[in-house]
Symmetry: C2
């Protein structure tokens, strides 16, 4: 059994020293027993961040300790360092690593190194006690799927599910007695349909290999899902390129539909986008697309399925008005979002006088 221990304390001010010294008051914490400590595997990063001057950047003190114990088949028998713990080793096992967020909370992000659930429970209990002392609000724990064994102990300490993605689960706990102001989870999936017309009034249409339209013979606009972090206008261009090989530039959003319970309790926003093609040779994506073609617009509209499907008929009416220069949708305008100076798009009717001029 080899124990490697490395501690670094960066003190930013003398006040920080005082704040740090309060950490050694053992009565504040539910310390793990040597036996529990001995069951730690892999790498544990303990990062004390005390927001003793508020949640700003000034006045923070960070103590980072790395403990790397080689795995042993005798995990339940205490290693020598744990059976005669020194002060540093105690501090190492006492708290979970966390970093402050911008809302007075803490984010704990675990790597996928194995962690013993009992040890985790003990660390979490002690950490919650510490965070309460510090007046922390929301505590987030991001658990990689490899640590599914830590879900149960976190729930037992009062955490609940916030959101999940294929490779991780985000748990959260609201510490104050005040109203929970944590952000709501994502509620909508976003999709696009692309209206792409060439100079011969032919519209780009596809038949899909799977999905609801499979085998119906219906020719439809290329459609797709907007990826996480992707702009709607970029998604429309990407989907057209992927499904048909056609290069196109985004013109505007003609309309959108909001629907509910599209999968389980989640809602759906579907944006009908107009694109201007800049290439014309179709190369279909074999995996998803059965066939694609440039079809005379009137032929597309007159398909019985379009005429019988209320929403598709309404969308066709919008497209027809657009073709005649009698419709204005929303165009993307670059903007800066909120306080973060991040670039994003504001979609609005650029024809502010109400006339169609583009």
């Amino acid at each position: 059994m080899v124990v490697k221990l490395w501690c670094r304390t960066s003190l930013i001010s003398s006040t920080a020293c005082i704040a740090l010294s309060s950490h050694s008051n053992r009565s504040f914490f539910n310390l793990p027993t040597p036996q529990l400590r001995s069951r730690a595997q892999g790498l544990i990063l303990v990062n004390h961040t005390c927001g003793f001057l508020g949640s700003g950047r000034l006045g923070q003190v960070r103590t980072e300790c790395y403990l790397n114990r080689r795995r042993s088949s005798m995990m339940s028998s205490p290693p020598s360092a744990a059976s005669s713990p020194d002060k540093q080793a105690e501090q190492v096992d006492r708290l979970l690593s966390g970093k402050n967020d911008d809302h007075g909370g803490v984010i704990v992000e675990l790597t996928n190194e194995p962690v013993d659930p009992s040890l985790f429970a003990t660390l979490l209990k002690a950490s919650i006690s510490q965070w309460r002392q510090q007046g922390k609000r929301g505590v987030w724990i991001k658990l990689p799927i490899e640590l599914a064994n830590l879900v149960e102990p976190a729930i037992k300490e009062g955490f609940y599910y916030h959101h999940a993605e294929p490779k991780y689960l985000m748990l959260v706990c609201w510490l104050p007695a005040t109203t929970n102001t944590l952000p709501a989870n994502a509620t909508h999936r976003v999709g696009i349909g692309a209206f792409v017309m060439n100079a011969k009034n032919e519209v780009l249409v596809v038949q899909e290999k799977s999905g609801r339209f499979r085998g119906t013979g219906v020719w439809k606009f290329p459609t797709g899902v907007v990826d996480e972090g992707e702009d709607i206008c970029d998604a429309a261009v990407r989907e057209v390129k992927e499904e048909t090989g056609i290069d196109a530039t985004f013109v505007e959003i003609l309309a959108f539909r909001q629907s509910h319970k599209s999968f389980f309790e989640k809602s759906d926003l579907f944006f009908v986008c107009m694109l201007q093609p800049s290439s014309f040779d179709i190369q279909i994506q074999e995996q998803e697309i059965e066939a694609a073609q440039w079809m005379p617009y009137e032929e597309y509209v007159s398909q019985p399925f379009i005429q019988q499907h209320e929403m598709l008929k309404q969308i066709a009416a919008v497209c027809s008005a657009k073709i005649l220069g009698k419709y204005s949708g929303f165009s993307p305008v670059e903007t800066v979002t909120g306080f973060s100076e991040k670039k994003s798009y504001l979609y609005l009717n650029k024809n502010a006088n109400g006339d169609e001029s583009s």
Copy 2:
């Protein structure tokens, strides 16, 4: 120890009998040991649904078996029924309950009754084997937060996280060798800002008790988050009523902004909505709102914060154009969504000729 056992088999056709009989071929399944079976607690619903004529409604056979064992402090010692199992009892414990979805998959929804993780793992293994035989595609498991102890065994059988809400976790597994076509998770949170103006060209503005604008002295439009399953137009009316007590009717969406990484990796869609007020006496929501008032529109626009904030300035320009009758946004039009005949809203520019007439 009391064992209640009830079995019902509804046979729709003679073909169904043949399909059902194949279930009794034990070699297909990894049967649980009597000891594992004995650890079942609460109610287990086993629902065999064989899609042997495809995923349609015809030709299905359902076998539902309910097993209710009273809890015992001797859970690890086999109850009499399990120690001398008859064929029915074996069948009961063999598979998880599931119902078919519309896409060739199965949805398993567990109640919050405790289930032993080892038993669950065994049932899941056997069920997966069965679903593979049946050519099932996506298998969904909805685990209430009370059953966090079943997350790990599900992951070990190849499931991954799809989405989560405070009270449950949705796990999923794609069984075929073909490309995974399961729906993407929700990626966007949806919010609204409400532009509400009275006949005196005064705009309804608030100061919030929390959030980024807290203590800045900035007067802003009422804003809020669109709830799961809520229409954007309804959310705008609700938020205005909640925050200020003002009744209003929805007019149109003037613009919207898409931004990314608004919380963790999730994106945000923020819709600027115009509403027509029908009441004028303000009653603020004490919990969220510090103050609210009808403010002359020019005074709102001339606030330094609005003038310095690119997006707010752009939105103010849109509102100004709207006041002058020189702007068309998107109005909600009722439509029927997709194949399900559900009502939903299509938002489009109703002024199809490009002129502002509303």
